[in-house]
């Protein structure tokens, strides 16, 4: 099977969906002639033309508002937010409006729109190019939020997001774009929203994670295996709705849960995963539900030394694994 990077998988998925569905358009800053700041849409304007691959002004509220209007009027728009850090002006369009369309119109209208949002740090992006913004959207009923971490999942989940008749936020960790390479079939396929996947089976504890931290966690799990600790790694893949069954099944089986995330822990995805485990696995737990995340600070530091200190790393995850295993 051909090997592709995450960014190649994302591009391929959009290309396939654009060919499948004439009502689909792509809009965003520099997505046309420039091919996107990460080159995700590279070449798409040549194939589909500037009426379907639309360069927009630097105005996220407008990008999302236009996408929403197109969606409720029968098109299937895909909006790219250049960096997650700039999505905040579009909160009203996404959280306030798009999420409520189906309910607010009693099902008469839906908003089949996809918002691609490159997020996350560890790229020396500093304050404005490193944020993790998932929680606000994952909190919102009416939105689906997916966060694929592998090229295979990126292609399949993006395809599903585009074909879904309600708004889906697709979080792509920008560090994984060219960092992670894996097998991706050339043909189309979809991966269901709301399904987590065990990326590494184990018996001693479960790491629950997503995004870039999946890869760090897998590395840490291998190091722990060398010390005789058998760690299961569950990749959430979808942050809303969370796959509570998969989380509870794995945590119950291993008896210990370590949640690893790049986002600050307070009121986060990890908080919700903790609550699920607390509610559903109490009588199977053999250790405290543990969360590993960065310190509760507003920004991802720009200095590489401070950035490395801020981000969870395989070594820090290994230390947390070891501590939990010894309890």
């Amino acid at each position: 099977m051909p090997e592709k990077t995450v960014i190649e998988a994302v591009r391929e998925s959009m290309q396939i969906e654009m060919r499948r569905d004439d009502s689909m358009i792509i809009l965003g800053e520099d997505v046309g002639n420039r091919g996107g700041v990460f080159l995700a849409t590279d070449g798409l304007i040549d194939e589909f033309g500037e009426n379907r691959v639309i360069d927009t002004p630097l105005a996220e509220s407008s990008i999302c508002g236009v996408a929403l209007g197109a969606a409720v009027n029968g098109m299937r728009p895909l909006a790219e937010i250049q960096f997650a850090d700039f999505v905040w002006p579009a909160i009203n369009q996404l959280v306030g409006e798009a999420a409520k369309v189906r309910y607010g119109t009693n099902g008469v209208k839906t908003a089949p729109m996809t918002i691609r949002v490159p997020y996350g740090g560890g790229v020396r992006g500093g304050l404005y190019h490193s944020q993790s913004i998932e929680v606000l959207f994952a909190h919102t009923p009416g939105l689906s939020v997916v966060a694929p971490a592998t090229p295979y999942d990126a292609k399949g989940l993006l395809a599903t997001a585009i074909r879904t008749d309600d708004p889906v936020i697709v979080l792509e960790h920008k560090r994984t774009y060219r960092l992670v390479k894996g097998e991706v079939p050339d043909e189309e396929y979809t991966i269901p929203i709301g399904k987590a996947e065990i990326k590494r089976p184990g018996t001693d504890m479960t790491i629950i994670t997503y995004g870039l931290m999946l890869h760090y966690s897998l590395q840490a799990a291998e190091m722990a295996a060398a010390n005789g600790i058998d760690v299961e790694v569950l990749d959430l893949r979808t942050l809303r709705p969370l796959d509570a069954d998969a989380i509870a099944e794995s945590a119950s089986r291993t008896g210990k849960a370590l949640i690893v995330q790049e986002d600050t822990p307070a009121v986060s995805i990890g908080s919700e995963v903790s609550a699920i485990i607390g509610e559903r696995c109490f009588f199977d737990l053999d250790g405290p539900i543990t969360r590993l995340g960065p310190p509760e600070l507003p920004p991802m530091p720009f200095s590489p030394i401070q950035e490395a200190e801020f981000m969870p790393s395989p070594e820090k995850i290994l230390a947390a694994i070891t501590k939990l295993a010894e309890i």
Binding site: I7, V37, F38, F83, G122, V123, R124, G125, T150, P151, Y152, K174, R175, Y177, R178, L179, V180, K181, G182, E183, V184, E197, K199, R200, P201, L214, H215, L218, Q219, A221, E222, M223, A226, N227, G255, F282, F283, D284, L285, D286, G287, I289, T290, R291, L292, G293, P294, A308, E309, S313, P314, E315, K316, L318, A319, A320, T322, K323, E326, I327
Partner: protein
């Protein structure tokens, strides 16, 4: 650099040890191979040598604590770069080297040195190739702080549930978790081993009650606890059966009386009955291999070697040094080997070799005046034989078809055997072999 000292694996089938006296204190400078701590296992008592040179910083396993092999018992600070160990600075492991699964290809691999800058250009990822000091202290985990010393209070929900489900008394388990916490694994292990904990927890003395009825509560010594555990294991796993037979050892007594002095003069070893019976028992084992076996995972394993353990009383307990290749040794050799090993047992300086590999046990309870015994088998062996006191008794004997009463030296030998492996008939055949071997000895015998 900080370095964890683990309890070393000290021998076959030994999975845990009781910590004895610490010979070094935190802050002490220690050289590699310096004796650090005494440990007691059900096989051997030994000193654990220091795995490296440096400074002992912390003792984790305290005296009297039962610790699994491989568990961390202390921490030390070593000179940088001197040791490389598991658990030290971890190497970066490529996720692609994960165990093969259908997922392996799809999860993807990390591209070393990939461009991951915000615009796909400027910033080359080096964080995965550079070695970073892993600062465990800096990490931000929400888990409750580790308990310091002493047994942690409380059981986790899963431990409580499993214990209730399987009728396990949690107080009978010694935990392998942090601070002696009983873990899920401890309970499942206890369930698998038949519903009771394999290890008894040290009972906390009930001081007020003790004072009331004037009973004295003694905290057993580590070796006492080991013996206790070993006996419980043997009695609960092995269905014991017993058989005894009386042996006319008049000839052996006469032979020994006649040869005692010359033997000691020529070989420098005191001649006791033990090497003589040992030699006869080893021959009988050769003829009855089922008595020289083990019940193992539903199979009977006939042992190729005949290694007879000899129970030796020592201060506060009992140890069983092993005489290797007992069937192939001369009486003179056996006497010499026995003398040495018993001496080492009594002085507490036995080596691992002295206690490993036993296939059968001989217990000379006769020296204590005992005339009958039902010994507990030395797990996982098939049988144990006691030789009881030699006493003169009037016995009916037949000489040339004429019965008469004579004063003879008589000795009972008592066999406890694993009824899974042998039945009464085979046990009796073995006892008869020993009996005829011993009774064949006469004043005129030429034993070497």
């Amino acid at each position: 650099m900080a370095f964890n000292i683990e309890l070393p694996h000290v021998g076959e089938s030994v999975t845990e040890a009781v910590i004895g006296k610490w010979l070094k204190s935190p802050g002490d400078q220690i050289e590699k191979y310096d004796p650090l701590v005494e440990i007691v296992t059900d096989k051997v008592n030994m000193d654990v040598p220091s795995p490296a040179s440096g400074t002992l910083t912390k003792i984790i396993a305290t005296e009297g604590e039962t610790v699994a092999m491989g568990a961390i018992i202390a921490e030390m600070e070593t000179v940088d770069g001197e040791v490389s160990v598991t658990g030290g600075s971890p190497a970066i492991v490529d996720a692609a080297k994960a165990p093969e699964s259908p997922l392996a290809g799809r999860i993807g691999t990390i591209v070393q040195g990939a461009n991951v800058g915000p615009t796909g250009g400027e910033f080359v990822d080096t964080s995965l190739t550079a070695t970073k000091p892993a600062d465990a202290a800096a990490q931000n985990t929400s888990g409750r702080p580790a308990a310091s010393n002493g047994r942690q209070k409380g059981f986790s929900p899963v431990v409580t549930r499993l214990a209730a489900q399987h009728g396990i008394d949690l107080n009978s388990l010694v935990g392998t978790g942090l601070g002696g916490r009983v873990t899920k694994k401890d309970v499942t292990t206890a369930v698998e081993s038949g519903g009771t904990g394999s290890i008894s927890a040290p009972q906390t003395p009930q001081t007020p009650q003790a004072a009331l009825n004037e009973d004295q509560v003694i905290e057993p010594s580590p070796i006492r606890k080991m013996i206790a555990n070993h006996m419980v294991k043997s009695m609960s796993e092995i269905p014991h059966a017993w058989s005894a037979i009386e042996v006319d050892v008049t000839g052996m007594v006469e032979w020994r009386t006649a040869n005692k002095e010359s033997f000691e003069r020529e070989h420098g070893v005191r001649l006791t009955y033990l090497p003589i019976t040992l030699s006869v028992v080893a021959d009988a084992l050769k003829a009855n291999p089922r008595l020289n076996s083990s019940w193992s995972d539903g199979n009977i394993v006939l042992k190729s070697a005949i290694n007879v353990g000899v129970a030796v009383a020592v201060d506060g307990g009992l140890v069983v040094p092993v005489i290797h290749g007992a069937a192939d040794s001369s009486l003179i050799d056996l006497a010499g080997i026995l003398g040495g090993v018993v001496e080492r047992a009594r002085s507490g300086s036995m080596t691992l070799d002295d206690v490993q590999g036993g296939t059968f046990t001989l217990n000379n309870t006769g020296t204590l005046g005992s005339v009958w015994g039902g010994a507990i088998i030395n797990h996982p062996q098939a049988a144990i034989l006691t030789t009881e006191a030699i006493v003169k008794r009037p016995v009916v004997i037949s000489v040339d078809g004429v019965d008469s009463i004579a004063i003879r030296s008589m000795m009972n030998i008592c066999l406890s055997f694993d009824h899974r492996i042998v039945d009464g008939a085979e046990a009796s055949t073995f006892l008869q072999s020993v009996k005829s071997g011993l009774e064949a000895i006469a004043l005129t015998s030429d034993l070497k």
